[in-house]
C-alpha cells in the first residue's frame, strides 16, 4: 500500500494553522471559527489558531504536532507567501516532512486587509482554507534545486548610487560591469555645486569616486550604453548591452580635448544637455571637465562630416597619431553573463512647463532648481556667476517649493529633498549675489541629521521665509523683466505680492520616463508613479520580487545623497552575501514533459518564453530544460494532450483547490 509520503491522497494527516497576525487578521476574520471549520474538513487531524505563526513558538507548534500527530501535510493561513512561505517550509522540513507537503493561504492581504466585513471575510477565509486543504493532499514530495551563482555583477546607472555600489563590490573582489547611458557617469550629483546640509563641494567628493571607478581593475565601465535584454535567472543572467558609437575610440582617446579646440566650429552651436541648454556645445564634446571616462563624443546630428561628408576634419588632424577619431564606428552589441544585477537608474526632475501658472518657459527669469545648480557651478554655463538670461545679476530672488510635488494634479508624493536643496540654493544665491531671498514654502520639511540646524542657519542669514503657496507669477507693470509672486501668507493671513528679479522653482523628483521599459527588461515591478518596488517596505528595502535583482537610490523613490549611498551599500552587501554563498536554491515549481505521454505535436515548443523546450526529432518528443524553465506554466496550459505538467501546479492540485473554494461550507 502506498504511504502518504508517496501520494496516497486519501490517507493523509493534515495540520491546519490559522494565524491572528496580532489584530491584522484576527481584527477582521473570526480566526477561531476558521480553525473550527478547518477541523471538520476531511483529512484534517489538528486545526489551531495562534497569535503569530511566524514566531519561534508558532513554528515549534507545527514541529511538535508533526511529531505527536504524525502529520504529513501542513496548511498555514496567514500572510503573503512572499513573506513567510520559506519560514514555514523550513519549519515543516525541520519537523521531518517534505517542505513541499505544505500550502500557504494568504488571509491577510487577500482577506483581512481588503474586506471590512467580518462575516464575509471569515467566509472567504474558510473557502481559501478549504481550497488549501483539498489541494495539499495531492502534493508530491519535491526537492529544491541548487545552481551556482556567477560572481560577476551588473550595475545599471552610474549616478552616485551606481558608483558607490560598483566600488563596494569591486573592492570586495567581484567583477562589475557598470552600464551608464550618458557619455559620462556622475548622474545628478555631478551637476551640483554644493550639497546640503554640509555644503561640501559636490565635485570634491564625487570626482574621486568617479575616477576610482575608471581606474578599478575589477570594474568594466561602459558609458554611453544601455541594457537591451536580460534572460536567465538569479545567479545566471545573460545580458545584452548596446554600446552606442561615440565615433571616438575609448581605448586610445586620452581626453586631451585638443580636437574640441580644433573643431571647425569656433563656438558651440548645439544646446548643451549637461547645462540644460543654457550654453552651447560643439559637435565634438566632453559633457563637463571631470567627465568619466575622459573620452570625447561626436554628435552625428550636428557634425559636418556626418551631415555632408565634406568637413576638413580639423579634429582628426589635432588628434594626430593617436587616431582616436573613427567616423565609421558602429553600434556594438555585447553579451555578458552575470549572477546579480543592481539597478541604480535614478530619477528625473518634474517638467515645470506642466504648471504654466509659474511661468517657466514663458518668462526667461523663471528657472528650475536644477538650472540654478548649473548656474552656481564653476564649470557651468556662466562659470559659477549668477547672471540671469538677460545679463543682470538678481537683487531679489523668490524660491517656490513643492513644484510638482504634494499636488493632486501632478504628483501626490513629497519629493523629500526639495525643501533642503531650496535652503541650500537660498544660502548660495545670497552668498554669491547678496540678493534678498524670499522662500515660499508650504511646510518646511527638514527631518534629517543636521537638517533643522541648516534651516536655522539659513534663517539667521536673513532669508525671508513665507509660509504660503504661490498662486500666480506675473510680470510687473513696468515690464522691466521683474516678476511678481503672489501668495497668501498663511501665517500673517494676508495676500503678499513680492516683486523679484529671479524665480527658482523647486521642482520635484519623478521616476525616469523609461521606468516602465526598464522594469520590463529586468522583470521587476513599479508602484504608482513608476518608482521601482522594493520587496518589503521595511524589511527588504533594496531587494525586489525578482531574485538576484536589487534597486538602490532614487530609482526606488525620492531621496538625498546620504540615503542613496546607504542603499547602494546595502544592495551591494546583499548581492555579496548571495555571491559568497556560491549557490542558489531554486523553487522546484518547474514544468516537465512525461515522455511516454508526449505525442510530439510540438505545440509547446515555440510557446516557451524562456526557450526552455527542445524537441528530440529522433524520439519525436519534446523535453524541458529544467534549469531554463521559470515555471510560468505556458507549456502546461497549451499542451493539448496534458503531457506537459508542472510541479506544485499539477491538474489534480489545481482542480482540488478550485473544488475546495467552491464547496459549500
Amino acid at each position: 500500500m502506498p504511504t502518504p509520503e508517496h501520494g496516497d491522497a486519501n490517507a493523509v494527516r493534515i495540520g491546519v494553522y490559522i494565524c491572528h497576525c496580532g489584530t491584522n487578521i484576527a481584527g477582521t476574520v473570526d480566526v477561531h471559527a476558521v480553525a473550527e471549520h478547518a477541523g471538520t474538513l476531511p483529512g484534517v487531524v489538528v486545526a489551531r489558531e495562534y497569535k503569530y505563526m511566524c514566531s519561534d513558538p508558532g513554528q515549534e507548534l507545527i514541529k511538535a504536532d508533526i511529531r505527536e500527530h504524525r502529520l504529513d501535510r501542513i496548511v498555514v493561513a496567514s500572510c503573503s507567501p512572499h513573506l513567510h512561505e520559506k519560514t514555514f517550509r523550513g519549519a515543516v522540513a525541520d519537523g521531518g516532512v517534505n517542505p513541499f507537503h505544505f500550502q500557504m493561504v494568504n488571509i491577510r492581504e487577500h482577506v483581512s486587509w481588503v474586506h471590512p466585513d467580518k462575516r464575509a471575510g471569515t467566509e472567504k477565509a474558510d473557502a481559501l482554507v478549504r481550497a488549501a486543504v483539498s489541494r495539499v493532499r495531492h502534493h508530491k514530495p519535491l526537492e529544491t534545486r541548487r545552481v551556482p551563482v556567477r560572481s560577476d555583477v551588473l550595475v545599471v546607472g552610474g549616478g552616485i548610487a551606481g558608483i558607490h555600489a560598483a566600488l563596494t563590490l569591486a573592492d570586495a573582489g567581484k567583477h562589475v560591469t557598470l552600464v551608464e547611458r550618458e557619455p559620462t557617469i556622475g548622474g545628478h550629483m555631478a551637476m551640483f555645486d554644493k550639497t546640503f546640509p554640509t555644503l561640501d563641494c559636490a565635485a570634491c567628493i564625487l570626482t574621486p569616486k568617479m575616477t576610482a571607478v575608471k581606474a578599478h581593475p575589477n570594474i568594466t565601465l561602459w558609458a554611453y550604453a544601455e541594457v537591451q535584454a536580460v534572460s536567465g535567472y538569479v545567479g545566471n543572467f545573460t545580458v545584452t548591452v548596446k554600446r552606442k558609437p561615440r565615433y571616438v575610440r575609448d581605448d586610445v582617446c586620452v581626453g586631451c580635448q585638443e580636437c574640441i579646440d580644433a573643431c571647425v566650429y569656433k563656438v558651440g552651436k548645439e544646446p548643451d544637455a549637461f547645462n540644460l541648454g543654457m550654453s552651447k556645445r560643439k559637435p565634438i564634446y566632453l559633457p563637463f571637465p571631470q567627465a568619466v571616462p575622459q573620452v570625447v563624443t561626436i554628435d552625428p546630428e550636428s557634425c559636418i562630416e556626418f551631415k555632408s561628408g565634406k568637413c576638413k576634419k580639423t579634429c582628426v588632424e589635432a588628434c594626430a597619431d593617436r587616431h582616436a577619431i573613427d567616423f565609421t564606428q558602429q553600434e556594438r552589441i555585447e553579451t555578458i553573463e552575470v549572477g546579480t544585477i543592481l539597478l541604480t537608474t535614478g530619477f528625473k526632475v518634474f517638467d515645470a512647463k506642466r504648471l504654466p501658472s509659474y511661468g517657466y518657459g514663458t518668462y526667461p527669469n523663471v528657472y528650475t532648481a536644477l538650472e540654478v545648480e548649473r548656474l552656481l557651478n564653476a564649470s557651468g554655463p556662466t562659470a559659477g556667476e549668477m547672471v540671469l538670461r538677460d545679463g543682470r545679476t538678481p537683487r531679489t530672488v523668490g524660491i517656490i517649493h513643492c513644484i510638482g510635488s504634494r499636488d493632486e494634479h501632478t504628483n501626490k508624493h513629497c519629493s523629500r529633498v526639495c525643501c533642503m536643496y531650496a535652503l541650500k540654493l537660498a544660502h548660495l544665491v545670497q552668498e554669491r549675489t547678496g540678493a534678498e531671498v524670499y522662500d515660499f514654502y508650504i511646510d518646511m520639511r527638514t527631518p534629517g541629521k543636521g537638517f533643522e540646524e541648516f534651516y536655522n542657519r539659513v534663517a539667521e542669514e536673513g532669508v525671508h521665509f513665507i509660509r504660503g503657496k504661490v498662486a500666480d507669477v506675473y510680470p510687473t507693470a513696468e515690464q522691466d523683466g521683474r516678476l511678481i509672486l503672489q501668495a497668501e501668507d498663511t501665517l500673517l493671513g494676508n495676500v503678499r505680492r513680492i516683486p523679484v528679479d529671479m524665480v527658482i522653482l523647486a521642482v520635484g523628483l519623478e521616476a525616469q520616463a523609461d521606468a516602465e521599459d526598464v522594469r520590463r527588461t529586468f522583470n521587476i515591478t513599479c508602484g504608482t508613479g513608476g518608482w521601482f518596488t522594493e520587496r518589503h517596505p521595511k524589511l527588504a528595502p533594496v531587494a525586489t520580487f525578482t531574485d538576484g535583482v536589487w534597486i538602490a537610490g532614487a530609482c526606488q523613490g525620492p531621496k538625498d545623497i546620504p540615503d542613496t549611498v546607504a542603499q547602494a551599500g546595502a544592495a551591494a552587501g546583499e548581492a555579496l552575501a548571495l555571491i559568497n554563498a556560491g549557490h542558489i536554491e531554486l523553487e522546484p515549481n518547474t514544468a516537465y514533459i512525461v515522455a511516454a505521454d508526449c505525442s510530439g505535436c510540438k505545440t509547446c515548443v515555440p510557446m516557451c518564453p524562456y526557450k526552455a523546450i527542445g524537441f528530440d526529432a529522433e524520439q519525436g518528443k519534446a523535453a524541458i530544460n529544467e534549469v531554463l524553465c521559470k515555471g510560468c506554466g505556458t507549456c502546461v496550459s497549451v499542451c493539448p494532450s496534458g503531457s506537459a505538467r508542472q510541479n506544485l501546479f499539477e491538474d489534480d492540485e489545481i482542480y482540488a483547490e478550485i473544488g475546495g473554494v467552491l464547496a459549500h461550507a
Partner: protein
C-alpha cells in the same frame, strides 16, 4: 463444457454506426460469436426488454452500450443493463463523451423538436404535429419515452467499467477489447481501451510539422487542395490530432481529412475542447487584437469544431437554459 460467457449489445442515442462497427469485424465477428453467447442485441436479434429483466443480476459477462443517454427509456435500460452485467462498456464516442447527439446541449428540447419536426427543409408536417408522451389512438393508449433537456454520457447515468473510443471504434480496438474481456487481461476499471497518447504519435505526417508553426489563416478542408503528405495543421486546417487520443491509426488523416476528435482526449485532459482551443490559439501568428480576431473568426463553428464529440463530457456540459 463450461457455458460460454453471455454478452449483450444495446444502443441509445446513436446513429447505428457502432452496430455497423461490430459487423465490420468481418470474419473476426464469427470468432466472437463462436466464443460468446449473445443474449441481447435489439438491432440484430429479437430479444425484448422483459427477457433482460428476467435474467439474474450479474449474469451477463459484459454489455456494450453505444449512444448517449437522452430519453427516459435509455436511462432505464442503462440502469437495467448495469444491474444485469458484470462489466459495462461505454462503446463509441456518443456513449463515452456524448458524441454528435451531445451537440443538442447547445439548444433546449423545444427548439430541437421544432427544428426536427417543423422547420427543417426536408420536413413535411403540415399540421405541425410534435411527438407526445401519451396519446390515444383508436381507443389504445400509446406512450413514447420522455426526452430530457440534457444529453448525458453513459457514465453520467450509471457506473461504467470501460470505454471503447471512436466514432465508431475501429475493428482493431473492438477485437482487442473483446480479446481482453475473454482472457480477463483487463486494465484498471475506468480505463479507455486505447493508447493513452495523442494521435500525432501514430500519424504518418508527424515529421512534416514545423518546430514553430504559426498560422495567419485557418482553413476548412473544402477551401484547400490538401497535400497528402504534409501535416494538416501546417496546411492551416484544424486537425484535432494533438488534442485527441490515438488508436485509430489516424484513419481520417490517411483519407486526407483532418482528425475531428472522435476518440476524445487523453486520460490527463478533462476538457478536450478547451485544450484544443488553447493549442490552436497558440498557433495564431499575430499579437494584434484585431488581427487575432480576424484569424480566429475564420473558424466557422468553434464549439462544433472543438467539442464535436465531447460537449456533454466537458466541464461546460451544455449551454445554459432558462429553467421555468
Amino acid at each position: 463444457m463450461t457455458a460460454k460467457p453471455k454478452i449483450a449489445f444495446y444502443w441509445c442515442a446513436s446513429c447505428g454506426g457502432c452496430e455497423e462497427a461490430v459487423v465490420d469485424l468481418a470474419e473476426q465477428v464469427l470468432d466472437v460469436v463462436a466464443a460468446v453467447d449473445i443474449v441481447f442485441w435489439p438491432c440484430a436479434m429479437d430479444f425484448k426488454r422483459h427477457d433482460v429483466e428476467a435474467m439474474a443480476d450479474g449474469s451477463i459477462a459484459a454489455t456494450f452500450v453505444n449512444g448517449a443517454v437522452r430519453t427516459t427509456e435509455q436511462e432505464e435500460m442503462a440502469h437495467l443493463l448495469r444491474r444485469k452485467s458484470r462489466v459495462l462498456v461505454a462503446f463509441g464516442a456518443c456513449s463515452q463523451l456524448g458524441g454528435i447527439p451531445g451537440l443538442a446541449n447547445l439548444s433546449d428540447t423545444a427548439s430541437v423538436l421544432a427544428t426536427a419536426y417543423r422547420t427543417s427543409p426536408s420536413t413535411v408536417n403540415p399540421d405541425g404535429v410534435l411527438p407526445q408522451r401519451h396519446t390515444v389512438d383508436g381507443g389504445h393508449a400509446l406512450g413514447l419515452p420522455g426526452l430530457y433537456e440534457t444529453v448525458r454520457t453513459l457514465d453520467q447515468v450509471t457506473d461504467v467499467d470501460y470505454y471503447l473510443p471512436g466514432c465508431a471504434p475501429t475493428p482493431k480496438l473492438i477485437a482487442a477489447a473483446v480479446q481482453a474481456l475473454l482472457t480477463g487481461a483487463l486494465p484498471a476499471k475506468g480505463s479507455v481501451l486505447a493508447p493513452d497518447i495523442a494521435l500525432c504519435d501514430e500519424c504518418a505526417r508527424k515529421a512534416s510539422k514545423p518546430d514553430a508553426l504559426a498560422l495567419a489563416a485557418f482553413k476548412r478542408p473544402s477551401e484547400v487542395v490538401l497535400n497528402e503528405e504534409e501535416c494538416l495543421l501546417a496546411q492551416g486546417v484544424l486537425c484535432m490530432g494533438p488534442a485527441t487520443r490515438g488508436g485509430c491509426e489516424a484513419a481520417c488523416v490517411q483519407g486526407n481529412m483532418p482528425c475531428t476528435g472522435c476518440s476524445g482526449p487523453t486520460s490527463r485532459v478533462r476538457d478536450q475542447g478547451a485544450k484544443a482551443l488553447s493549442g490552436f490559439a497558440s498557433l495564431v501568428a499575430s499579437n494584434d487584437a484585431a488581427e487575432i480576431e480576424r484569424i480566429t473568426g475564420a473558424i466557422a463553428d468553434p464549439v462544433g469544431t472543438l467539442y464535436r464529440y465531447a460537449l456533454p463530457a466537458s466541464l461546460l456540459r451544455r449551454r445554459r437554459v432558462a429553467v421555468s
